[in-house]
């Protein structure tokens, strides 16, 4: 189930850049005139980047690094970055502050999809183009913001389900290690997974689902409890790699062997991919954080007057035993 097209979009090197999925939503239609912004030279203007969470997990580290690196490469001298520290109110005020500091364009990695009203109002009053990355903002593209670049989390959940069905041969009991409660990513990765399982493999039961807060330690602790209360579980779906790795530690500690319990997770960090090689994890669905090239490419296209699609969905890869070994190096 791979819909990958070899259209490298910058970055290059050993690290895998993002690949745009085709077709990319509706036809490109948003132009700078339609949006109502004025042209400016990004190299000499303030560009704001608002990161949502601490750069303390591989995804966020790679995401911020990629934005910064690309900005440098593009010669953008005045990139201002802020970090919401996982507090939504802070991220809102961060972005407002970026606007107050005269940002001409904003790249936002939103912590939450809803609740952007005040920022959008302020930005639209000044006609500041906004590109959101990795999470959508629930608003109107090309009016409130220009476009969204990112993965489809629901789709990631479905693809994880497909891997799970393959791993279990369509029958078995699955435990889910949920992400943080109330988080859009959690909701969508869970929804996609459950819908796909219900549709394609009625033989698979989801008998356990508890939050692991996207953290390794919590994933480990929950798995430890689960092993004892639900000894009949055959597989674990972890909504990010960190929890999957915690689960691996827990399984090792309980004396399980690699492959006894199939683990499928989402993210594609190097650690997780190498656990596929050692047999502990069955498959990983990638969620590529290297947004820099695509984001700035989109921005300059937009500023050049080219039409932009209302969303740019990147095509994420999948890692399993067939490709893990060769891919470890290119994982983030």
């Amino acid at each position: 189930a791979k819909s990958e097209k070899d259209q490298q979009t910058g970055g290059g090197g050993a690290q895998a850049g993002q690949v745009v999925q085709t077709p990319t939503g509706s036809a490109p239609s948003c132009t700078i005139d339609k949006f109502g912004a004025a042209k400016f030279d990004p190299k000499s203007s303030v560009i704001g980047f608002s990161q949502s969470e601490k750069e303390a997990n591989p995804f966020r580290i790679a995401e911020t690094a990629s934005i910064k690196a690309e900005a440098k490469q593009e010669g953008i001298a005045n990139l201002r970055t802020t970090n919401g520290q996982s507090q939504f109110s802070k991220q809102i005020s961060d972005v407002q502050q970026l606007i107050a500091q005269g940002a001409k364009a904003l790249v936002i990695a939103p912590l939450n999809s809803d609740g952007w009203e005040p920022v959008l109002q302020q930005a639209s009053a000044k006609h500041i183009p906004i590109i959101t990355i990795d999470r959508k903002i629930n608003a109107t593209a090309c009016k409130d913001y220009v476009t969204f670049i990112g993965s489809d989390f629901y789709e990631q959940g479905r693809r994880a389900a497909d891997q799970m069905i393959k791993a279990l041969g369509g029958k078995g009991k699955v435990a889910i290690l949920l992400g943080a409660s109330g988080n859009n990513v959690t909701t969508e990765r869970t929804g996609g997974f459950k819908d796909e399982i219900a549709k394609k493999a009625p033989g698979i039961q989801i008998t356990f689902e508890q939050t692991g807060d996207f953290a390794r330690e919590k994933g480990q602790q929950v798995t430890e409890q689960m092993i004892q209360s639900h000894p009949d579980v055959n597989a674990i779906y972890a909504e990010n790699d960190e929890m999957a790795l915690g689960a691996v530690t827990a399984l090792k500690g309980a004396g399980k062997k690699a492959g006894d319990i199939k683990i499928v997770s989402v993210d594609g960090t190097r650690n997780a991919v190498s656990q596929i090689v050692s047999g502990w994890i069955y498959a990983v669905v990638e969620s590529n954080p290297r947004f820099g090239p695509l984001a700035f490419q989109t921005l300059s296209k937009f500023l050049n007057g080219e039409p932009i699609p209302d969303k740019v969905i990147i095509s994420d890869r999948e890692y399993d035993s067939s490709n893990a070994k060769q891919s470890v190096a290119s994982a983030y």
């Binding site: 601490k54 430890e224 209360s229 530690t249």
Partner: protein, 321 residues
């Protein structure tokens, strides 16, 4: 009238009541265990016992330090950040051997304790804000040290600390037990222990009685930092990774809850070491029960709220405000 101290008798009924008030937390644990035996499959097994004990060990260790701090009418919010700092320091110094790495991690904890203690004892900052500074900054520092990254730990000696056993008892549990005995001893048998509760009970009186109030306060925060660092080391060994971004998150709340549920009043002047351990166990059992029964997060949080209240209600009288 004779020349002896006048001893007034105390009836047995009063003693039972007092016992229940003081030891309600044990009753709550017993009740929860019974409930679990009935409703939770596979509850009575050595593996399960091990899991619960191993998971609770770091919480117990942090709570011990917290109990001392609370005994002085203070509070230490920075314990979670100390754990992060400890875990961040370990991989940096593993090259010099496990001993060196652990030592540095512990020194990190002591350093944080010194800062907290100085602010409280010498600058007279209210403990909650004094320790809030390092609650905020400490984790940041840990992340700076670690370059923001989670690092896997492969040193087998260190990993053994997390996973091996001593006569069948997991090592983290042994460490927690030893520290419990030590701290109980400090509280009961040392000048320092007596002085710290007196300071919590009436600081002015302690000053007037010539107690070295500042020194004791400083030492209390240092101990809290040290114990949190020990917990950080053990947690690192068990996780087999150094994860400064999430290790010890919300630990301060767990520890304070354990201490208070265990019968140590937040108003200070009293320290219940065994009660604290029991408080930590109770919280662990509650969480385990909720996870094992696969309750959705919404229900789990509400149930947890109710159980905590029930436990404190049972132990009412032992706690102040």
């Amino acid at each position: 009238m004779s020349d002896t101290a006048v001893a007034l008798p105390r009836p047995a009924g009063a003693r039972t009541l007092a016992w229940l008030q003081n030891y309600g937390v044990y009753a709550a644990i017993a009740a929860l265990i019974v409930v679990n035996i009935v409703i939770t499959p596979h509850f009575i097994s050595t593996e399960n016992l091990r899991t619960q004990l191993v998971q609770v060990a770091p919480v117990v260790i942090v709570s011990l330090g917290m109990a001392l701090v609370i005994g002085t009418e203070g509070v230490d919010l920075s314990v979670g950040s100390v754990m992060a700092l400890a875990t961040a320091l370990i991989p940096l110094y593993l090259g010099y051997g496990v001993g060196a790495a652990i030592l540095v991690a512990l020194v990190g904890g002591v350093a944080v304790g010194l800062v907290n203690g100085s602010l409280v004892a010498f600058v007279n900052v209210q403990p909650i804000v004094a320790t809030l500074c390092l609650f905020v900054g400490g984790r940041g520092l840990a992340l700076v040290i670690a370059g923001g990254r989670l690092k896997d730990v492969h040193d087998t000696t260190l990993l053994d600390l997390g996973s091996s056993s001593l006569v069948g008892i997991p090592l983290p549990v042994v460490v927690a037990a030893v520290l419990t005995v030590l701290v109980a001893g400090v509280v009961r048998r040392t000048t320092f222990g007596r002085q710290l509760v007196a300071i919590g009970g009436n600081r002015t009186a302690s000053v007037l009685s010539g107690l070295p109030v500042r020194r004791v306060l400083l030492l209390v925060y240092v101990l809290s930092g040290l114990l949190a660092a020990v917990a950080g080391v053990l947690a690192t060994a068990r996780l087999q990774a150094s994860d400064p971004s999430s290790l010890g998150l919300l630990m301060e709340l767990s520890a304070i809850t354990a201490v208070v549920v265990g019968g140590t009043p937040l108003t200070g002047g009293r320290v219940r070491v065994l009660g604290t351990v029991a408080g930590a166990l109770l919280i662990q059992l509650v969480r385990a029960t909720l996870i094992k029964h696969n309750l959705p997060d919404s229900v789990a949080q509400m149930v947890q709220a109710v159980i905590i209240l029930a436990a404190v209600y049972a132990a009412r009288g032992g706690t102040g405000r």
